[in-house]
Symmetry: C2
């Protein structure tokens, strides 16, 4: 299948590209290195440098024999989008091309505006391009579990059957997010759902939880094929940050009470979920929604797990509750359904002590590269 990965340079985009390529699909990646530029501008360092897409794809071809086409450009610009869609004529489009960090979106007005404009413009352009150039192509869109927020009732998989005054209606599950970034994902869903109904597009919207890890089957060939690994407070996801904090001897920074509970998944399962979605497409005129995570943990749970894993390899790990910079419930009901991807065949990789220890072993090699000033970035919601 010809699969176009938008945001193919990212933490998840690049591993996804390799994974689908390894399965024998014809893969192309498009990116404008926005994430790299934002890290530069905000003076954020990665744990280790990663090569650019030309180098990565050359390396991948060397180790795998598979070629991945590269398109460098800004997907907010229609002319570039049209050029890519016409040239590659995708059968599936995996859309990761968004500013992906909640704290970045709350940094200041400029960052908020960039997040809003970038995320909505790319999604709109993908919709218009699919309609114009490949109306039968399947759009696999990365959404987020954060779209649902933390309601006091069970979170169903995308939809909610409401009974009200003796009548019934099936709605898109009502959404209420905790950051501007997450709110742009709600808007993406609004937009996709409108055009699915109107133009009969074929869309899968993956409500993904926070991802951890960095190893995939393909990175075993060469460490230079590893994804980005942000451990800073802006672009780093929580478990990855805790692992680096543990290795650096920095107390694990739990926001507030730490009862904030979310659905998590291993990066390997992100790839599996995307692959299962691509290989089992939604129907024409269908918005198919999956909740994409494998286990739920509170932040306290994660901190405890990292502490235990650290202790096992002789690290002295402390947990510190710090003032919560975000506006969020620190104790809440959380019961999200997630059966759709399991039914498609997902075999989860759970968060064992071994997984954390393996990550720590890798991070230890870069211990001297860890910059303590990255860990705290002072992004406040208010």
């Amino acid at each position: 299948m010809r699969i176009l990965i938008l945001g193919g340079d990212g933490y998840l985009g690049w591993p996804t590209a390799m994974d689908l390529s390894a399965q024998g699909h014809e893969v192309a990646v498009a990116d404008n290195y926005l994430r790299r530029r934002l890290c530069l501008e905000e003076n954020i360092d990665l744990l280790f440098e990663v090569p650019d897409l030309d180098e990565r794809t050359a390396l991948w071809q060397l180790v795998s024999g598979h070629k991945i086409a590269v398109y460098i450009g800004n997907l907010c610009e229609w002319d570039f989008v049209a050029e890519v869609f016409k040239a590659f004529n995708p059968q599936a489009v995996v859309h990761y091309a968004e500013q992906p960090a909640a704290p970045y979106s709350m940094l200041n007005r400029k960052a908020a505006t960039l997040t809003l404009n970038n995320n909505l413009s790319v999604t709109a352009n993908v919709i218009f391009a699919a309609r114009e150039f490949c109306p039968d192509a399947h759009i696999v869109k990365l959404g987020t579990m954060g779209e649902y927020g933390t309601p006091n009732i069970d979170i169903e998989e995308g939809w909610l059957e409401v009974e009200h005054k003796g009548r019934q209606h099936k709605f898109l599950y009502p959404r209420q997010a905790g950051s501007l970034y997450h709110t742009t994902k709600i808007m993406d869903t609004d937009l996709l759902w409108f055009y699915v109904r109107t133009w009969g597009l074929r869309v899968t919207d993956l409500m993904q939880g926070p991802v951890y890890g960095l190893f995939t089957d393909e990175t075993e060939n060469d460490e230079r094929l590893l994804p980005y690994f942000n451990y800073d407070e802006i672009f780093g996801t929580v478990l990855n940050r805790f692992v680096v904090q543990a290795v650096a001897g920095h107390p694990l920074s739990v926001y507030g009470k730490g009862g904030q509970t979310r659905g998590y998944l291993n990066i390997k399962d992100t790839l599996n979920c995307v692959r299962l979605s691509v290989e089992n497409p939604a129907d024409r005129g269908e918005l198919r929604i999956f909740n994409q995570f494998t286990e739920t943990f509170s932040v306290n749970d994660l901190a405890e797990k990292v502490k235990e894993a650290g202790n096992q390899i002789g690290l002295k790990v402390e947990i510190q509750h710090v003032t919560n910079p975000r506006i969020e419930a620190e104790e809440h009901y959380y019961h999200p359904r997630h059966t759709g991807l399991l039914e498609l065949g997902l075999k989860p990789h759970f968060l064992t002590k071994e997984v954390i220890v393996t990550m720590m072993g890798f991070v230890l090699k870069y211990k001297n590269e860890i910059k303590p000033n990255q860990i705290y970035q002072n992004v406040k919601w208010v």
Copy 2:
């Protein structure tokens, strides 16, 4: 009160500005004449020409003695927004500054992109400006009843208490719109609701139905103070279009079965609703939502009313069911609640035969100006 009207040149913006000014409020208007530009570009003629804001405000000062400040510029540009907010320091902001037409938003990719970017950027800038320059100011935002769509259960006023598996949660009423324009209004609501919760803004979101009419208390002074009157298929609202079609001897063009039902209101009631909202502000940290209409009618109901009114003054009016260019339910349940504004003191002006006859009498004066090619514009949803 110092009240800033964004989109103060529009069909509703200008009459609102005069109305609040007549009440003794200190009023400023901001606009970039986007609507005029789009009409020019799409070759759409108004029934009669209206003066620009400098002329209108000069005229208004002459007849009323009240001064209205004018800011001409693009509210998508932060520098202009900041300049206006700093200079005028509003206590209330009435936000009409959006591309307001569903058919325009469905015209083509360029029009869709303009609608999406314009509407979201202005709303975001208003939020950022309120936070930075006047955090206590009350934002009165024009939304639309179209955000709700036509669900099979009662439409409550903004919020829905859901009971699910023995638990309860109060959600923003789930929204699902029938055009890109209406979808951008859903996104506005998403955005406002997020920042109300996060920054404690003070917001009233008015879910307005289609508006008809053109006379207000202030336009009685001078016909040059009348608002725009679009009768074309792109920017004209349905009752206004039917009145012009009746006068022109064109059959009233009912889309499909004509059972599409919506909540309507007289332009005089728009002004009253906005004034009541401004003079009774929402609390800090409150998103207050009102459903703003006074009566519900199907398109068939409206066509019948226009036919009867036309017959009374000797016009021969035919009704023609044409192929529906939109994707929408042509027969559906529709039971929207609308008590909030009545409780604030709204005294509705209902759609009587007299109201339609008065509009017809006015339109008859311009009968020779009516251009038949404006009536059908061939904007299809698919």
